[in-house]
Subunit: 240 residues, 8 copies
């Protein structure tokens, strides 16, 4: 079964020409090697779409996957650098304040994965890219922006030193994400990972290499803690 | 200079018989090998005590170190399992809700380091020890307690699987701490560390091996986010 | 010698137009780089087919290899997800009870390799896929199915925590198979492997990364132990 | 609290002079550093003894720990080489056939841990020590003994090659245990572990380095599968 | 400069249309990326050919490289499985006795690299392929052949156990070569390498992973030691 | 031969009661295990002292070794924190400007090894200790001191991020020294080493973990480059 | 946006048809996957070119990237083996004496990266390639050339032993660069890296694997230290 | 059973007061922890002594072990630096020519283990210690001695570069032995091991870290190949 066939199948489900049960059974038998990871991915996404109506977040999606999902649901959006396909409720307001920063320009795709993830979940996110310590003054000039965030996500490859410096500057929680950017003794991100785990700065939690999605989730969960009281207040006020 | 001499010196500073400047100069020249890490530690603590009046937190302290610090300040308390010497303002009320849980009994010292750290900083902490997945029902029976926390610190050695399970049960941020407990292919905590970094559960931030102190810091920073609004409200109300 | 030439040669052997001795000599001299691993594989399979008449099990076979083998023996079946070409006696009844479970959907190919292997060897196998601990209740709801098996094969990538949880639930032997699924600090399956080796649950034996074949073999050997007595009884009964 | 004090406390519990609840509370507050791992161990053992009446198995126990446990329960036995304290029902008959073999003499302690574990659980165990492949004929001469076992536990350090050879000789499941015996590039048992995971022989499950306990558990679980039918038959016969 | 251009240049050197000095200068400036490793390789080979008239041995050569070298010197031979281009004096008699054995069929290319290398240097080499320990009796049946060799080269991937077994059977030096054959925890040949370094058998020297060339060199150097006396004798006899 | 005996022997050499040749022969036969590394060390130092009259530098020396050497030469000085015994010409003026800085207080011993080494070789050295990035402003306040040095040696353990920050601030060469300070995932200094090798800052050369001696050597060699011209000028002027 | 579109955009900036601000905004939104690393690279280079007029140095540039940059600035030069695009002031004289040497021919690309880097920065560089220790006499014959350099950059892969030998021959600083050249247990340059970090020779600073750029920077910084005095002298003389 | 008791037992065996069978049974039950490795060692040695009358070679023996063995057999000799207890036939003449060289003085114990091993087996051995490449001219001055050997054993720690240099100088086989000498990134000898495995010099076989015994065995086996012909000739001559 090639991509076109897959697309036809999914479109039939959408239009009601095929029952959910039948579709899933057919998807189960898809030859694995034809579409590689994509087929599995689509299969999971399709199941999710058909069952639930929650916001969708498909990470590590190729443009090809995005196109297929868009046929299932017109609201789907493809975020190029983040490589995410998402569907989120446009009426829901983004709240709180997550700051995502990167050391270099090539860390941006992972940072964007974190940003889009947190936004789809409902957090307001700001970004500050390319402020690595090679030119530390660029970072220090933005210190006031750092101080305003409820949680800072720091994305860095190679030596991975940025979270240590940021952790020493801000009082809020820091989520550190090593990237696989680098060569030689960076060993695919291992060097940056170890740097972050050994950070002398207090209050830094570390994610897996390139795990922008996880960083976005954790940052969102932390961010909404600062929101929880508001809701309760609102409710209390209404009840008064 | 042996421990007794060090103690005499510090006591003199305390009683005013020796100026701060002179004491620090003398501490600087302490022979390194006489006291091992302890001398450095004491040196740093003494400097801190003499300069600031903030809450004190000396981690990885032996009982010998604790005794020395108690002579400097009678309020100092030694936490046996946590191996921490602390001084904290008894009038300051503990707030919020941090939950610290462990997989086994031998993970407790690291968990205690996290608990004492968060408490000294001002967080209210509860504990739930020895609920590893080998007997998963023990954990599931406590699920309601898990749901009440603002942030959960999960401490586990050997296979380090507990954070993955907890991360799938709670909606709040999880701070995972691998411990060096284990043998053979645990490689001093590396196995548990990798398990946690690769956790399939979303919203898990990982600390260095045995880093109870860091976990306590991060948990406290997350916990107080849920408190921040209250303070502002209080202030607003007073101003009204 | 290209695939077509190889195919012609093998077909000649089958029809008797070429002696076994001559065919093997010709296969020996096949240029290595023309077919890559496939040529070696075919060579070994051909030798096996020509000499013995035991059930055939060719793992890690591409569809191309499958096609070639089918020309040698019409009974050959290609299992897509398992990437196995097999020939088994359809009259032989599958016996006992092996349960193969996976944490995620992308672990299924390795699980299928284990399933097909055990079945070709004569074991009855059931499967339970995509029951990872991120949603632990899905697993717990199937606990009765877990309890019925004689041996459980647990296949998991990334954090590899499923065998620890399963090992705590069942009284029978558990065969744990780490998969290379994951990224970053999963280091090609190393993280899952270490998790499983350090499992706190008793009664768990670990296989090499992605070694579905080995897991199928071991599960079958364990499964038939529960059968052995039956056979003896049968024999005893007949002899009476 | 020193060992003597601990002993006194436990003896009081045994004689009824101290309630279980009180004893456990007191054990909880034991200073960690006084007894090292032992205190934790004793604590867990004591809890187990007081609550349940199942067979006891305390691994990695020093002679000092053994003495303390013997005061709690006179039936306790200390196995020197295995470093295990056990209590088992002497009336229960050992059944089935587990064979434990080692490559060298210094692998014996780990092998004994496996043997005692399996025996305490109820398996009949035989041993064959010091049959490493450096003198392969010594192993081959015993091939008939290998063929009689339901499951073979193979314990080997350094190059860890013995399980590969045994796995090629026997039709039953093989449980491979790498030991930390060796030096240099054995890296504390890692070399032997990798050898076993990569074994070309089918039907080999691998344990953590030096994990004789786990091997004993798994071997017992496999061994009793061959027993299960008997019991059912017995029951069936009686019912007839 | 593409392969064709390179070929033209080399042919001109051969026919004398281009001086050596000019050719080397032109070769020096070859764009690196056009031919990859090949260009460097050819460059070195060309320099060697033009300067010396010793036997040539170009390892890891593609068929394309072989074709280019054959244009430089008609005597050049390409060994497919060994991936070697060689030129050797056909009148020189091969002497002594090197035995090259492999565990599996996929280890053969590395073994062939060793065989061709030793032969080009002047050693007589015999081979015994696919005698891994999974079927140890196949090896033991050939024990007499093993005993006849002056030096045995043992090539094995995956668990790499064959050298340990052979080292226990023969009294002569053993050269062990790990191959990168395998998957998962073989880590590109690391597992086999460690097995061989930790071999319990005495008299085993280990080569780098896949280093058939080095094994051939070392085996030849050892082999000719057994020859040296002969030559001296010959000379002595002639002088008499 | 115990330390006292060794001391007696060396004293005899010094007083002329024992010839150099005889002493060295006796030292050669010293039992290895009596003094551990010390005996070897002393042996080498003694040989050096007896043969040459260059400045002496014995690193990793215990106080016991220092005492023994002082008996050989009264000018010997023991540097406690650096663990160095040195003899240097007091008339020779220290020149140039090397700056040695550390991240923490526990990095000081390695920094002192570098400082004493460079000074014994003839460099003028200044130090700036405990300026880690956890409090980056402490470092930035000293930026003018950083700018004055010809070469900066940066010593840091744990996350090892200081050289990256310093490398971005100064225009001169930076010598980075990782220390084994840390725990858990610092893996004995490996984390800091990798951080430094991957430093995004240009102009940073890295030393082995804890290699203060090597850093002192390299810093001295770089420092004297800035001196070389002066000497030549001096000479030129004198010759005029 | 494909390469042609990118080229058109950059050309417009150059001719003034597009403002800098607009161009950068458009570059920001470039789809990541279209050009791979190249797009990021070009983006950074373009920003640098448009803002500053300093010498340009773009490393790891493909020929395609070079072509694009040449359209932005006609002075740009592409260095094939070094894979660098550079623009340097032709009037500025190269000064001092850096020597770059390699062990093998395949280390040359990394060495060329170091050479071009140091030259663009203003250092005079000489090279000595293919003098590995397999033929140590070739190196020793050039010893006088080694002695003339102010700083030596030594580039070596595989066993990486050349810096140790050179470090024992020269009195000046040595910058060691491991390359990823090799196979098997070279582990992508790790073996050479460790060799260099453990060098017994004093005065050796180590770079990341394949980091020719960093080596060039460090060598230049060291080299100009020997120049600094000249300038000051010149100035002093003029002022007299 | 303490060392004295062990000694008494062994002495009884020697005097005939205890049968072999009984002694071995008693040795089997020796408490493991009393003597550590020693007890195992003695057990094996005793068995060997009692059964065979071949030359004895007990490696890694402490002085205490040596004393015990000397009571069993007066001919036993303890080699201090090599830590070997040996018994060899004094009438057997040492033949051939093995050369053992070391890079530093602290590599000597491993080199001595190789030397004594080869000598006990019957090889004539010469030594050349402390000729590391930091001062390469010391090695080159001895080149004629290197050329005379039939096989050279090269022992080196830290960077482990000596075998590469020696391998480039001699035409005979080289046995390379890495030692655990070093610190930091030497990782217990791993750095030296990798250097040697990646050696660019042909004809180098590598041993495990610190495996002087294995090197001695292999060197002896190679050395006697050069002797074998003599014996045959002798025999032939006698037969004539």
């Amino acid at each position: 079964m090639n991509p076109e066939a897959l697309e036809r199948l999914l479109t039939k489900v959408r239009t009601g020409a095929l029952s959910v049960a039948t579709a899933i059974r057919q998807l189960r038998t898809l030859p694995y090697e034809d579409l590689g990871f994509a087929s599995i991915q689509i299969r999971a996404i399709a199941k999710s779409l058909l069952k639930h109506h929650r916001p969708l977040l498909a990470t590590r999606a190729t443009r090809q996957v995005a196109t297929l999902i868009k046929r299932l649901d017109r609201r789907a959006v493809y975020h190029d650098e983040a490589r995410i396909v998402s569907i989120r409720d446009p009426k829901r307001q983004l709240r709180g304040h997550v700051l995502v920063i990167t050391a270099g320009t090539s860390d941006i795709p992972v940072a964007e994965e974190a940003r889009v993830t947190a936004e789809v979940m409902g957090s307001r996110v700001e970004t500050l890219y390319d402020v690595g310590v090679a030119g530390i003054h660029r970072l220090l000039e933005r210190q006031s922006r750092l101080m305003e965030a409820r949680v800072v996500v720091v994305v860095a490859g190679m030596d991975g030193v940025l979270p240590s410096v940021v952790g020493g500057l801000v009082p809020c929680p820091v989520v550190a994400v090593p990237t696989s950017r680098g060569y030689g003794a960076s060993f695919g991100g291992l060097a940056a990972l170890l740097t972050m785990l050994n950070s002398c700065a207090a209050g830094v939690g570390v994610m897996n290499i390139d795990n922008g999605f996880g960083a976005g989730c954790l940052a969102h969960r932390i961010n909404v803690l600062g929101e929880g009281r508001d809701k309760r207040e609102m409710r209390d006020k209404r009840e008064r």
